[in-house]
Symmetry: C2
């Protein structure tokens, strides 16, 4: 049995190749756009969302060939959201994954277009490269992903975040914003992996709960890290929530309370997939991994 | 038999209602984002792309209930592209459809997010509201639309356009840029309408040719209008191609030659759908309509 680190490294390396193959300019006149898209997606961090797709998929017997396409689509959605989020009119951040942000490297217009194109390509991958899953399953995947990342999901969360800069939010409002902005794509990664396999209703419910818990866990840890870690450690600008006067878990709770919340969420997440036994080992290891970004 | 004007007016009014129903904020905290999305899409122009969806669909017996969803998706894609195209980092235009551009009305950040959300919602509509067409047909629709508007289609054309500001392009390069930037979505509107019906291979080919011809026709007329019409008449800033030093049909051809090209394209388009007979009457009328924006 592969240990978690080796398993994760294998997927990270595999995804680099998959993403590169899915972003080949078909002609010379499109090379500029594809270069910006590749820059935004390749060489990209820990691929936590890809790992979640694979861990969930493997827990219900999905095929690796399907999971790599689904993970590529999720990574492209994530990359598009980061490119647009870093733009001057949004967070105005110049550093991402330890490199200049896409708009710094390629200019704002090309970054805008690269983000737009990455969103489309994500959906294009799902309709074009999963034929052996069947049309019905493909439409379910698309239904799940479009809902998670559209106006009632990720983009909605970004809008709420932007509208509340400098304002205070209560605990429920912060949780709702984070569920939409970050949680919905992480939850979708888990559910899409599961949809590629053969789950029964009970397994679907367990993955649903796990996805929600780790989505929230991820954001609580992210808020704590933003308040406590260095820019060098993060590979993106640290302290920017405070700089932008954004309400976060670290501002509405003490840091200690936020850490306790993270540990509670971690325990619930682990518990929700314990009925999978050995088949859920990478899901549990991922919950550990997400928690340990901080502690 | 309904005449063209009454038919078109009926569809324009119908689409206003459909688009409004498809853009209802599900909760108060998303009202701001939905307001910007609605502003970008509603009360929007001549709805040429919707008319093409309906005309193509009706030529092959598609159901109106399916066509209105497809047309709504196409309008949302079109609106998202206009919102992002008007942004300061792109064309920096302040006027659209006779109103302040979305980023002028709601700020750049909200315009960026509204455009992003409209793109997702377009795909979301197709997977959620066409169940009676069947999953296989839905994936074909999505395959057609994602290809038409992604990096190898509309967004690719915008990137080429942006990269060639101030440079000269030859006739083939201009045609290629326009085919991607404008033609691909117009072509897709025709093909999506056809896909909702029952076409044979010959009808598919005829619609394919028609879609390509009217896509190019549309852009030639647009270039001539940009060079000759007033801002008031257009409802958007006139003369901006010249202002941005963009190569267009009006710069590489004389205006007379561009008009002759438009008339040739119009004749080919009409000819390509003449085998439909009466069932293709609205397609032919639309080719007339697109030509007559100018003459």
């Amino acid at each position: 049995m592969t240990n978690f680190s080796d398993w994760a490294l294998g997927i990270q390396q595999r995804m680099e190749g998959v993403l590169s193959r899915c972003l080949q300019a078909p002609s010379q006149d499109l090379a500029g756009l594809y270069e910006a898209m590749r820059y935004a997606v390749l060489d990209g961090g820990k691929r936590i969302r890809s790992l979640l797709v694979f861990a969930a998929g493997e827990s219900v017997g999905a095929s690796i060939d399907h999971l790599e396409i689904i993970a590529a689509a999720v990574e492209m959605i994530h990359a598009y959201s980061l490119v647009h989020d870093d733009m001057p009119e949004m967070d105005n951040d110049v550093l991402r994954r330890g490199k200049p942000a896409c708009h710094v490297q390629f200019g704002q217009a090309m970054a805008l277009l690269a983000g737009d194109a990455l969103q489309t390509r994500a959906f294009e991958l799902l309709v074009n490269h999963l034929a052996t899953l069947g049309s019905e399953r493909i439409t379910l995947l698309l239904r799940t992903l479009t809902h998670a990342v559209g106006p009632d999901g990720m983009v909605g969360g970004q809008a709420i975040d932007f509208e509340h800069i400098g304002q205070s939010l209560n605990h429920d409002q912060i949780e709702r914003m984070h569920q939409l902005k970050t949680g919905s794509l992480i939850h979708a990664a888990v559910m899409l992996g599961g949809l590629a396999g053969h789950w029964d209703h009970e397994q679907e419910l367990m993955l649903d709960i796990f996805g929600k818990q780790v989505g929230l866990l991820f954001q609580v840890v992210d808020d704590v890290l933003d308040a406590t870690a260095s820019t060098q450690m993060l590979g993106k600008t640290a302290g920017k929530d405070a700089y932008h006067h954004k309400p976060t878990y670290a501002t509405i709770l003490t840091l200690d309370a936020a850490r306790r919340l993270a540990m509670d969420l971690h325990l619930s997440a682990i518990g929700s997939v314990s009925p999978f036994g050995q088949k859920g080992r990478y899901l549990a290891a991922l919950a550990d991994f997400i928690l340990q970004r901080q502690f």
